[in-house]
Every structure is written in C-alpha cells, then in structure tokens.
C-alpha cells in the first residue's frame, strides 16, 4: 500500500493525498486505484517492479474520483476495470476532473488524460493467483463504490467509503446510502482495514469515525435547513470537539455545506406549511 498525505490537493503534494495498493499473486499483480496523475501511475508501476517481476494484470478503480483513476494511463488499457457506474462516471466527468486537477496540482499533472476502464466488474468472488477476493459493490460516497476484501489475507480495501483521521469528501455523496454501506463494511471479516485516505487500521475505528462524522453532518445540516438558516449561517456553525482531530475538517465542512445544503434547504421549503 502507498499512503497519501492527509491534505487537500496542492501544488506541493501534486495530488498525492490518496491511498493506493497492490496485491502480488502467482498470476500477476492486482492494483487497487491508480492515483491522481500519469506521473503517479508511472511511479506506482516502478514501485511494483521493485518488489516483483510479476506483470500487472488488473487495475481496479474503486470509484470515479480523480485521485483514484487519473494514473490509469500508466497501465495497459485492457487491464483497467471498475464497476459500470464508475466507468460511466469517468466517461461523463473525467474530463472536467482532469482540468480541475491541473488547476489544483499544477505541473505534477503534465501529460495526464482521463482513461476509462473498459472491463466492467460485478459484485462477487474473484480468484486471482490463489487470492480469494470478494468484490463488494456499494454506494453513497459516489453512485458506485467498490470495496475489495482479500479473504486470503483478511485485508479490506474500502476505497473512499472510509476516511481515517481525515474529514470525508462529499461532492457526490448520498449520506443515508453511505451509512448503509458502512454497516456492510463493518460486517466483513477483516483483519486490516485500508481506507481511501488516512492510515491503515486493524479494527473498525475508522468505520465508526466516518459514520460519526456523516451522521453529525447529516443531522446538523437537516436541522439548520429546517430552522431556516441561511447558508452563511450554516457555514458558521461550530464543529464538535471530537472532530477536531480530523485533518482538513474546516475545509471539508465548508465544501460539504456547499454540496449538500442546497438540496436540504429546498426540502425544507417544500415541507414547510403554507401560512395564511
């Protein structure tokens, strides 16, 4: 696993804020997420080549956010795979994500272009070189979020359904679906948990942490909308002390208000009783 920094995208970190991973098997290497740029993908290939002479036979994008698939160019096109919803998302939004990443990470992005996987994945068991993998198709962080459980080693690759010690991002989030996905993940028999962002854990702590943040966010913004708060007032609400330990929590709260609040205020207007 390659651990990214718990930061926002920047010219300094070049987008290296994400965890990517690979599994070396007797039948080749399986890569889980390819990183935020062509340069990252190429570095990932070299890192793999230092450890094994096995070829990369499969690259899986857990979901369609830019830091998880923009390294695809570094790998053979016919090895790229993802859930159908993820492939669709890369086709429709990959170009604008890519443009945005140039703006946020600058020269680190040089030569990067979005490449969508052609191989659609379905939920269920996947056997590769003696590793018994379980593909778990979930949703909530985006419309299609893939988690991968390696039953042979007990490692659960959770993608961005799990953030650890870093506030979750919500540009495509549907919070109730995300919460249901967290329950599914917590029921898996894992020994190591690899989050999409933040350090690896050996227990369900990061699942509970993600659940607590999403629960608080959903409750707080619903209540704010129902009380008729303006967005500027919702932005000014205090964050509970327990979330202070999450990296970039202020920036993510601000972004989440912008992303989630408009729908909630519209709902509050619709459900409000008409006055005489």
């Amino acid at each position: 696993m390659l651990t990214g920094r718990s930061e926002d995208f920047s010219f300094t970190n070049g987008g290296n804020i994400v965890n990517t991973a690979f599994i070396v098997t007797q039948a080749g290497v399986l890569v889980i997420d390819s990183g935020p740029s062509r340069a990252y993908g190429e570095q990932l290939r070299r890192a793999i080549a230092r450890i094994t002479r096995q070829p990369v036979v499969r690259v899986i994008n857990t979901h369609h956010h830019p830091d998880h698939f923009l390294g695809n160019q570094a790998f053979a096109p016919d090895t790229l795979a993802a859930l159908p919803g993820t492939i669709h998302g890369i086709h429709t939004e990959g170009g604008s994500f890519n443009d945005n990443m140039y703006r946020l990470a600058g020269d680190w992005m040089a030569g990067t272009e979005p490449v969508a996987p052609t191989l659609p994945l379905a939920a269920g068991p996947l056997e590769l070189g003696g590793h018994r993998l379980e593909l778990i198709a979930l949703e909530g962080h985006t419309g299609a979020d893939l988690a991968i459980l390696d039953r042979s080693t007990g490692v659960l690759f959770a993608g961005d359904l799990i953030f650890h010690d870093r506030a979750p991002t919500t540009p495509h989030a549907r919070l109730p679906a995300w919460q249901a996905s967290l329950d599914t993940l917590e029921a898996q028999p894992f020994r190591h948990l690899v989050p999409g962002h933040g350090p690896v854990a050996t227990d369900a702590g990061p699942i509970r942490q993600t659940r607590a943040w999403l629960g608080w966010l959903d409750h707080t913004l619903r209540q704010a909308a129902d009380e008729g708060l303006d967005m500027t007032e919702a932005l000014a609400l205090p964050l509970p002390a327990e979330f202070r330990r999450l990296a970039v929590v202020d920036a993510e709260y601000r972004r989440s208000v912008g992303q989630l609040y408009p729908a909630l205020e519209q709902q509050a207007l619709r459900t409000g009783k008409a006055r005489e």
């Binding site: 008729g228 500027t232 912008g258 408009p262 509050a268 409000g272 006055r275």
Partner: protein, 240 residues
C-alpha cells in the same frame, strides 16, 4: 481586523468632514471606481461596520457563493446596493427594505476573488458601506449556468417555493427560491436571462421589500449573480 479598520473607525467618529479621506478597509484598488460608478458624487460616504456582509472567506463553488447582507443595526435604511469590485458585472442586487428589516441573503457568481460590498443609504442621504473579501478560484460569471445546461428550467421557469420562520428575537424570516437560469450573458452563445425585479408583500398586499437584479440606469447589464434565485429576507410585520 487590520489597521485600515482602525483608521476607518476613527474617521467615522470624527464625522463627515473627513469622510472623503477614509481608506478602504478592504484595501481594494477598485474602490475608487466603485464609488464613482455606484454612489452619487456629492453624497456623504462612510465605511460603517453596522453594514455587515457575511460570506465565506474561501468560496468553494464560484457559481454559488452564499452572501448575507444585514444593515439592521443602522436606522432608517432606504436602499441597499450590493456589488463585487472585481466581477465583470460588478452590480449584484439592489433592494429597498420598505416594511422589512434591511437584511437579505442570496447566492452570487464570482469571476475571481473580490470584495463583496453593501452600500446602505439612510434617510439623511448618506451611504454606509460594509464588505468582506471572498477568495475563489473563480470563473463563475463566464460559465453557463447550471440551469441553462438542463432542459428542466424551461418547464419549471418561475416556480416559487417559500416558507416563513418566526425569529427568536421577534419578527419573521422569509426564505424564497425561484427557478430561473440567471444567465449573465457572458457565457458564449447564451444570452443574458435573469430576474430583473422581485416584489415581496404580505397577505394584505402591504409591500415588504423591493428587489432588483440589476441597475435601472443601465438596463442592458445584469448583475453577475443569481441574486434573486435564492433569497432569505428578514421582513418584519409591516408597522406602517
């Protein structure tokens, strides 16, 4: 706050005599132009912290920047003009509070980081200016609106949803949403199309607030703003 605020406060205490010498608390090179363009040359103009403009210091989405203006600490407000120094169309919205408190929340588009200011004219003819800087990566004004990209708005154009909340400190708050593309005319191939005027009244027809999406003296230039698309006003019960 910075040193400029201290200077502004001192000038205010000394009265209108030296108001013209006030330094812009937001230290914007465009302030002189803004003053010349939007405020009468002969008028008394003061920077005044009683005119509060609340907006995030960093706006994540330049197409949808929340701004609240509150001039209710100021007596006898007749009209409020809101503008952003560095927007290609600086004027955002003008409103006359009428029977309502002079407070209005809305969403704007920003083309780049800019001061967002509100100038409130009181009954004595003087203008009180408050404002805040909003940082953004920008581009909001020259992008097609979300509405113009969707066929949905044509079916729902003008659809209004609203709700009234009682305020703890007395009075009521009205929140209002109008379905409208609010196109600026600055995105290639998409003509300007925006709400020009919005009048709020109570059930008896008593006017509460008059809101304009552009300046009447230059009717061909809309404010770069979906100013009236989401409005959170603070009308009190009409007292007169």
């Amino acid at each position: 706050m910075n040193i400029h605020h201290v200077i502004a406060a001192a000038a205010l205490a000394l009265g209108p005599g030296i108001a013209a010498a006030q330094t812009d608390p937001l230290d914007s090179p465009r302030w002189g132009d803004m003053k010349k363009e939007f405020l009468p040359a002969a008028a008394r103009v003061v920077f005044d912290e009683r005119v509060r403009v609340i907006a995030p210091l960093t706006a994540e989405n330049a197409l949808n920047v929340p701004v609240s203006v509150d001039a209710s600490a100021l007596p006898d407000v007749k009209e409020v003009l809101v503008f952003a120094d560095f927007n290609p169309i600086a004027r955002i919205v003008r409103f006359e509070p009428g029977g309502a408190q002079p407070g209005l929340g809305f969403r704007i588009k920003l083309q780049q980081s800019s001061p967002v200011r509100a100038a409130a004219r009181t009954g004595d003819g003087s203008w009180h200016v408050g404002g805040t800087w909003v940082n953004t990566t920008g581009g909001g004004c020259t992008l097609p609106s979300t509405g113009s990209a969707s066929p949905e708005w044509q079916k729902r154009l003008g659809e209004v949803s609203s709700r009234v909340w009682p305020k703890k400190e007395g009075g009521e708050r009205l929140r209002l949403r109008v379905i409208h593309p609010e196109d600026t005319g600055l995105a290639a191939g998409i003509p300007a199309f925006y709400i020009q005027q919005l009048d709020l009244a109570d059930a008896a027809g008593t006017p509460l607030m008059h809101i304009e999406g552009f300046e009447k003296k230059l009717p061909t230039t809309p404010g770069c703003s979906p100013a009236a698309a989401r409005i959170s006003a603070s009308p009190t019960a009409a007292t007169s």
